[in-house]
């Protein structure tokens, strides 16, 4: 009887470990078949295949960043962005993440959170909502924030708008 009990406990524990999907998995799973949402997902397998494409037109900096990534998932919608933003924040277990950047505005909310272990950032999660829509975006892999932040300036992206009320929140 005691053996049975121990076995059961072990089973529950191990399956708990297996069940541990990334925190956004649940949120993702809920809306993946929802027609209001646009889903983009690039699996680790596809990331490995990326090495076969023609990289000639891709800037070196971007290339370095991409090759160290493992997966990408984006969930976006144009319907009721602020509502989904709130839902995402409440559903995603923020204890698993470390807060990086928070921009809070009346109609422009962005939150960057990361999962870090041993000095390496393994996941970068962006939750954003503005007039255009709601976006939940997750990169996994080995993420270099410095390189990532420099990408947009090197790629000639305008868009320094909406900065007035942005603020950085320290953990």
């Amino acid at each position: 009887m005691r053996k049975l009990f121990i076995l059961t406990v072990l089973l529950v524990l191990t399956s708990g470990v297996f069940a541990q999907d990334d925190a956004i998995g649940k949120f993702f799973g809920k809306y993946i078949d929802d027609s209001r949402f646009t889903v983009v997902s690039v699996s680790p397998k596809m990331f490995r295949l990326l090495s076969k494409v023609n990289w000639d037109t891709i800037p070196a900096e971007l290339r370095q960043t991409v090759t160290r990534l493992q997966s990408l998932r984006i969930l976006s919608t144009e319907t009721t962005p602020q509502q989904f933003y709130k839902e995402a924040l409440s559903r995603i277990d923020m204890k698993e993440y470390e807060e990086l950047i928070t921009i809070r505005n009346k109609n422009d909310n962005v939150r960057f959170v990361i999962k870090e272990a041993g000095g390496t950032i393994h996941e970068l999660l962006m939750i954003a909502a503005d007039e255009d829509g709601f976006t939940l975006l997750s990169f996994t892999g080995d993420i270099d924030l410095d390189k990532l932040s420099r990408l947009s300036s090197s790629m000639d992206i305008k868009g320094m708008e909406g900065l007035k009320n942005a603020r950085r929140k320290n953990k």
């Binding site: 990331f47 420099r150 942005a166």
Partner: protein, 136 residues
């Protein structure tokens, strides 16, 4: 004479007419010395009976006998227990099974398109990040 008495007792013994006391007397006689050679074989018989009477039933004799009579019972219990464990375990596995990871179904089959999406996503993230960082 003792020998004649013993002969008479033996005669009655074989007829199963002796009393308990008489049988004890016989046993005593054959244990002692002075048994004539022609009765040597009787001595062996009586000492054998005496030895055998010392033998005690082993431990759990009754249980062992019952085990022989109904050997299936405990085995069947074991099978039921094993079946119960298997059912319980598979039920647990089934219940706790994580939701299928439909989320990691690739959106693109073409790596080139996937790369474009990744590139776009990276730029979006980078842009948003700068919005936050440059504020300070």
């Amino acid at each position: 004479m003792e020998r004649q008495r013993i002969a008479a007792l033996l005669e009655r013994y074989w007829q199963a007419e002796t009393t308990v006391e008489e049988e004890r007397e016989l046993a005593e006689y054959f244990r002692g010395p002075g048994v004539p050679p022609e009765w040597e074989s009787y001595r062996e018989i009586f000492s054998f009976f005496e030895q055998e009477s010392e033998v005690q039933p082993g431990e759990y004799l009754e249980e062992r006998i019952m085990q022989h009579i109904y050997p299936r019972r405990q085995q069947r219990m074991a099978w039921w227990a094993a079946a119960a464990v298997i059912i319980l375990v598979s039920a647990l596995i089934y219940l706790i099974q994580p939701a299928p990871k439909a989320t990691m179904k690739d959106t693109y089959d073409d790596p080139q398109q996937a790369l474009a999406a990744v590139q776009k996503a990276l730029l979006t993230v980078s842009k948003k990040m700068n919005e936050g960082l440059h504020r300070n």
